[in-house]
Symmetry: C2
Subunit: 580 residues, 2 copies
């Protein structure tokens, strides 16, 4: 009974905070939720545009996940919804395909994430090193900027890659619309200024709060202002700016995820569709989980993140989302930052931002017609441009060029091919770099003075596994040859990963030292490995548990003074001093 | 000039031993070389049969490589020639294809090995763990036994796999020839008895030497006896036993490696041929290098193996071999053991065994007609049956079931698919197992008494890399929370692989401890990493170089007594005792 309750509380975190939910917390969540909603609505519209979808799909994606997370989520700052990376991956997987593919991708990604959660595969995320994350995040930002430039300039075309975008902009330069450019410039300036306005130091605390609110709701404000301007200047023949166009009003229809679709004249069944989506069905979930767990880690402030629960929740949010025509969703850093700085207390804030999205869908869609495309592009560009991670590049340039290579590889493959391939390539490169370091084991040597005269203490700096066993043995033997016939003390404190190859290596060392009549003392073995060492053929087990070189020597060959009392033992002690 | 001579001596090891070559050494090499030759001739014939090639191709493969190694080789026991593994891989790659494919495979394998040597890719061999080696060696032995059973029974068919062999033997059981079975039984019995005869203890030293010689030359003796029997019982109409048949007499023609071949009615060009050979062009060289370096390691007795030189030599031997119609060759454990126990002194022994092979080619080929197939199969089976590595399986069963899984996987894939795929699968499985251990960092904790009261010493047992940074931080924080607000001493002796993720992890730890007002002391940092630690944001660098917990504490917060002399400093020392 107790256990069932504990499991329920773990799988339904709502039960943990709801009983203590106070009026103050509720008020804080209301403020944070509404602020978040004002960011979420224009962001959703922009991300839908980025994924080349009608803008109302952004809003369809922004209420159900947000609200489900209230009951299932563990990190109060996370807000499930469309993100720039999700939109970009959707664009790469479903470009030119009907909407059914996007919905199926949402559903399947949810299923895969749920499965990963249930199979406890969250560890896969650990294989994506910070350099890889930095590389593909920066690249994503640049890809989004490149994709949105056409919006700033009032151009319309579909382009596959960054190079395509640049080429098409150059060839279509004569078609650039001045009004859109001017509006974009104004929007960007306003957004960047409003972003900074919260850092302005003012005396009055109230004034400070107003500035902060201005800064937080800048996306909504700019979209509102630009739309009003578009409405006012809207002529009977031709609008001044490129507009978003007609938006489907009202709530999305509730329907099962589509398992077939019509492309051109052919009907594709489920298997065909999955083949068409290809690797995205695997990579989208991994990137989702990566993003969500990264945010959860960042905001849980060092506390434990229940990765399994986060994955199950994310999976369910997407599976449910596909029923209301959502695109793939996950947490977003920008929104989490807004929640955080708005003083959120519990995941309940998501309820309010979800309601705001619903209200927007019901009452505001007819006004969305007037949102200028240049304005949406400005919102996107001003959001993602700060994702370009120059700091990591600078730090790695100073400290670790190999890691910088991994970052550059990920960045380059992202731009040249696709973000998914880049993550894979980066992860493999990181593994190769790790393997390379593992294959070059460092050995520390120290000269020690002992009762038996000078000796050499040798400490391998890292675990011995099959990838370095040979080289390690060679280095220890080289060190031994340099001091022969004096004793060699092998400090095993760090010899942790003792696999079969390493065991064989140690046995070869023991045999070799015996053949050379040199004393080999194996000591300072971690307690949990002592039994493994004791099984080594030919090992002298007396010193294994000792911690210092002196104790190790004393255990194997006690100094003559210690043996003085029983005179009969003298002959024996002399024998002990011989190399074993 | 000096340097040029050193390079020359390294690349032409002949120059190192020839100047000191004594008459005693020459005599020892002559005896060892002739003995080796008597093993090499029947072995070569048997291995050619195993690869489904006319038997003289075995001899073509056994003289040039053997002789080239005299000048270029570094390990005196190695004898380049056909081996069971090479024959099996050749069979798998070139089954049913004309001889041109085998010659091209020899040439290309040589090129790849040479390239690997020049690019110093010998480290790839380290990625094949002992469990993988054991798995595919055992499987190879079983595959060879299965393939040779038909020879023992006097059957003829071509089979693809072990299952195929068994199936065909069952269906063709009525065709089994009694005479061949009887001969095979006699040969096997003789071979196994003669193998043991050298271990018989006799008083006379001379008698001992005779028995040893009998044992060493058992292959040649059995082949000779069986052939004589076949010649004697050779009737005019139908031979009693299945015989090897006509053998091309004389030396092989010297010709460039074939870059086109005719299969059926179509002529294949170089590209088609390489596509047909497929992955064998990569895997054959890797297996070659693996075999040769394993032998070199085993017989160099812990000394340094010049892997690059061995690879260059092996590559040249195969490239040259393809000119005289050789199949792929490398060193063989069986031959090296014979050389070793025959008292070989320098690689010059290869010269004599090469000459014996040449003599056999020139003078003996007409008698090869009479070698019974059942006898050759017996020689092969009795050689490889001891390669089945039960000992490793038994040791791993007792100690390390995960490694046993890797071995079983390699073994299973070898039998079910191919040896090459098995090596690849095994290598990947080993890497996954290594990665799994790396992702679960162990942390040792020790309670220490200090002048400041009790504290906790925490030592991560292995390097911190991105794959385990998160978990490591979590474990350290959990340990810290258990003793808070007492100080935590982080012993970094084993934190060797400090990549960017680990650096970030340490910085997060420092920040977290400061926020919790708990004292974190980072100490015992390996000297070569101190600069990395000193660059950490917010680190207290005073304790980094100290070795013991007490020294580390004293460096950060000297005990009050030590600060007694200048009374003015009292306030400061009190401040030092506060958590940083």
């Amino acid at each position: 009974m107790e256990r069932a309750r504990a499991v329920l509380a773990r799988r339904l975190p709502l039960l943990r905070w709801l009983p203590q939910y106070s009026r103050v917390a509720a008020l804080a969540d209301l403020v944070a939720g509404v602020t978040l909603g004002l960011t979420l609505v224009p962001q959703s519209i922009a991300y839908a545009a980025l994924a080349d979808l009608p803008v109302h799909y952004g809003l369809y994606s922004s209420f159900l996940g947000t609200m489900l997370y209230v009951a299932l989520g563990t990190v109060k700052e996370v807000s499930i919804g469309p993100t720039s990376l999700m939109a970009l991956l959707t664009l790469q997987a479903c470009r030119g395909l009907p909407i059914e593919f996007v919905l199926l991708l949402t559903f399947l990604s949810g299923c895969v994430v749920l499965l990963m959660g249930l199979l406890r595969l969250g560890f896969l995320v650990e294989l994506i090193s910070p350099s890889v994350t930095s590389g593909f995040t920066s690249a994503t930002a640049l890809i989004i900027v490149a994709a949105q430039l056409k919006g700033l300039l009032g151009l319309s075309f579909t382009a596959e890659s960054v190079a395509d975008n640049v080429r098409l902009i150059v060839t279509q330069w004569p078609l650039v619309r001045r009004a859109d450019c001017a509006l974009a410039a104004a929007c960007c300036t306003a957004l960047l200024l409003l972003r900074k306005v919260k850092d302005v130091r003012v005396r009055s605390k109230r004034m400070g709060r107003v500035l902060w609110l201005l800064s937080i709701s800048r996306n909504a404000l700019v979209v509102l202002a630009a739309s009003v301007l578009a409405y006012v200047t809207h002529g009977p023949d031709r609008p001044l700016f490129k507009l978003s166009g007609r938006v489907e009003p009202g709530l999305p229809p509730l329907s099962a995820p589509p398992f077939s679709a019509t492309v051109g004249n052919t009907t594709m069944n489920f298997v065909d569709m999955v083949q068409q989506l290809g690797s995205a069905v695997i990579m989208m979930p991994i990137v989702m989980v990566l993003a969500n767990i990264a945010i959860a880690k960042a905001f849980s402030e060092g506390g434990r993140v229940d990765a399994t629960q986060e994955m199950v929740t994310l999976g369910l949010c997407n599976m449910a989302g596909s029923l209301v025509h959502a695109m793939p969703t996950c947490g977003a850093f920008t929104r989490s930052a807004v929640s955080h700085s708005s003083g959120v207390r519990t995941p309940a804030a998501g309820l309010y931002s979800g309601i705001i999205t619903l209200l927007a869908l019901i009452f505001l869609t007819k006004y969305f017609y007037f949102i200028p495309k240049a304005c949406l592009s400005s919102v996107l560009i001003c959001a993602v441009i700060f994702m370009v991670d120059v700091r990591t590049v600078r730090r790695l340039w100073a400290r670790d060029r190999a890691e910088l290579g991994v970052l550059a590889l990920t960045f380059g493959v992202s731009l040249a091919r696709s973000v998914e391939l880049a993550v894979l390539a980066g992860a493999l490169a990181s593994l190769a770099a790790l393997l390379r370091r593992l294959m070059r084991p460092r050995v520390h040597t120290y000269h020690v003075k002992t009762e038996l005269g000078a000796g050499l203490r040798v400490r391998p700096a890292q675990g011995a596994s099959y990838v370095c066993a040979e080289l390690l043995a060679r280095r220890v033997l080289a060190a031994a040859a340099a001091v022969a016939p004096r004793p060699l003390l092998l400090d095993c404190a760090c010899l942790a990963l003792l696999d079969y190859a390493a065991v064989k290596m140690l046995e070869r060392l023991i045999t070799k030292f015996k053949a050379n009549e040199q004393l080999l003392i194996i000591y300072n073995v971690p307690e949990e490995l002592v039994h493994k060492y004791e099984q080594l053929a030919g090992v002298d087990a007396r010193a294994l548990r000792t911690n210092s070189a002196a104790d190790a020597l004393a255990a194997v060959a006690p100094p003559p003074a210690a043996l003085a009392p029983p005179p009969a033992a003298d002959a024996e002690s002399a024998a002990l001093l011989q190399p074993v």
